[in-house]
């Protein structure tokens, strides 16, 4: 573990601690969701940290100040040492979140995780009806399993977040989605309109909803919020809009390397789970201490502060609010990660976003035209 080496820390810019640690334990997953945020070339990356290496990552991040720990993937349940990882994380004082598809879960494991100290389980659904859910997930049994596991999670006393990634093929069903979440006694519901990274970017023409679809979904969500508030119901609905319909970019990750630390299955440390696509060298936990990685590494300092910004961000009076938006989106859409996020109306590349909106209206792709996320597709895409 190397604590020394050159520091790329920016003078006058002292980052706060990494409060959120996301442990992407594995890229293995039994489902094939076409909007997966994993990298397209995940099949080439089969290396995974060992149990002891993960626990050392948890220890170091906790020492730096991380309080929230998400077990994610891929599907984290395929790791046979998950109970051991949960127990170690909980003993270190983390609030532990299992972010799962529910596939591979059983009542026995739910009870075992509770005993190990797991604080919360989030289950993701693909849709509120069996047929669309299973079609999107690429699995004929997924929906029934998810329902059963959501009920078991509540039965064992956990708080539960249900997550629905919404897109043009399921967003019109939002009312039924919300009803299902209330029936299942979710404490929090994330209605997250698809963000276009990884496999979702590849499938964007088949996923981006129209503006009318989005506005209708938001209106129905607001009606439900009012209804729940009137009943004193504790369930909270979180509606995430896609930035493709905004004129200003999102303050991505609350700023580069400002509070979020992601570790990929092979131990690469990233400031967000998409950043590996960028032409930036990122450090590995097997080679450097997390302290060095967070405060001094080249990768984590690359987009801190604002001295890297070209116009129109450089002279923009909103740059402290949105940090120029998302570096990954700038890179994917303009070829240069330094550019303003094209979502911004001031970007010279904003036309790309307008084109995507037009395509959503005039020439969308069907459900049957989506490329599913699986090893075969990953190998094909990354060979070419």
């Amino acid at each position: 573990m190397n604590d020394s080496g050159s520091s790329f820390a920016k003078p006058g810019h002292i980052p706060g601690p990494p409060l959120w640690l996301l442990a992407e334990l594995t890229y293995r997953c039994p489902l094939q969701c076409p909007y997966c945020s994993n990298p397209l070339d995940f099949a080439k990356q089969s290396e995974e940290l060992t149990t002891a290496q993960w626990i050392e990552v948890f220890r170091q991040a906790r020492e730096l100040g991380a309080a929230q720990l998400g077990f994610s993937g891929g599907e984290p349940l395929v790791r046979q040492d998950l109970t051991e990882l949960i127990r170690a994380a909980r003993e270190l004082g983390y609030y532990t979140n299992l972010i799962t598809s529910g596939i591979g879960l059983s009542e026995e494991r739910i009870a075992e995780f509770a005993e190990a100290g797991l604080d919360h389980i989030q289950i993701s659904f693909q849709a509120a009806d069996e047929e669309v859910n299973n079609l999107l997930a690429g699995s004929s049994k997924a929906f029934a399993q998810k329902l059963a596991m959501a009920r078991a999670v509540k039965k064992h006393g956990y708080p539960m977040v249900l997550n629905f990634v919404t897109h043009r093929h399921n967003i019109d069903n939002i009312e039924r989605i919300i009803e299902l979440c209330i029936e299942l006694e979710a404490d929090f519901v994330e209605l997250a309109t698809c963000q276009f990274y990884g496999w979702a970017e590849l499938n964007r023409a088949g996923l981006l909803p129209t503006k009318a679809q989005l506005e209708r979904a938001e209106r129905i969500t607001n009606e439900w919020r009012a209804k729940l508030a009137a009943q004193g119901h504790p369930c909270k609905l979180i509606f995430v809009t896609p930035d493709y319909y905004e004129e200003r970019p999102k303050a991505c990750m609350n700023g580069w390397g400002s509070l979020f630390l992601d570790i990929t299955p092979d131990g690469t440390a990233l400031p967000c789970h998409s950043a590996k696509m960028l032409p930036v060298q990122f450090p590995k936990v097997t080679e450097h201490s997390l302290k060095h990685i967070w405060y001094d590494s080249f990768g984590f300092n690359r987009y801190r502060g604002d001295d890297w910004m070209p116009e129109p961000c450089r002279s923009c009076d909103e740059k402290d609010r949105d940090f120029g938006g998302c570096r990954c989106q700038a890179f994917m859409l303009t070829g240069d990660a330094d550019n303003a996020d094209p979502v911004c109306g001031k970007s010279q590349h904003h036309g790309l976003i307008l084109d995507a909106r037009r395509q959503a209206e005039e020439a969308p792709k069907g459900l049957d035209e989506l490329t599913h996320r699986n090893v075969h597709a990953s190998q094909l895409i990354c060979k070419s």
Binding site: P17, G65, Q68, Y95, D119, M160, D187
Partner: protein, 92 residues
């Protein structure tokens, strides 16, 4: 004065955890995928919420510990009501 019944016992909502965070130098309330940083007074009040003692007992205890703070009983009651409205705590 707040309309809260002082015999009620406040308890953290299931899935919410209160703890001291040295790196942030404050108490926080942790919940699924979220964290609320608490100021000193909120931290001092939530530290008393143990699911055993009533609002009245908590008010008496904090009033004795901070005799110089004017209107402390009202402040505690207002905070507990806000915490309930936000579903951080429940009353039993």
């Amino acid at each position: 004065m707040s309309g809260l019944n002082t015999e009620l016992v406040p308890v953290l909502r299931r899935g919410f955890r209160f703890q001291w965070e040295p790196a942030q130098g404050c108490h926080v309330l942790l919940y699924p995928e979220g964290m609320i940083k608490l100021n000193d007074s909120a931290g001092a009040i939530l530290a008393e919420v143990d699911g055993q003692r009533s609002i009245g007992a908590i008010v008496a205890d904090l009033s004795a510990r901070f005799p110089d703070v004017q209107g402390i009983a009202e402040d505690i009651m207002v905070f507990l009501e806000v915490a309930r409205e936000r579903f951080w705590i429940e009353f039993r």
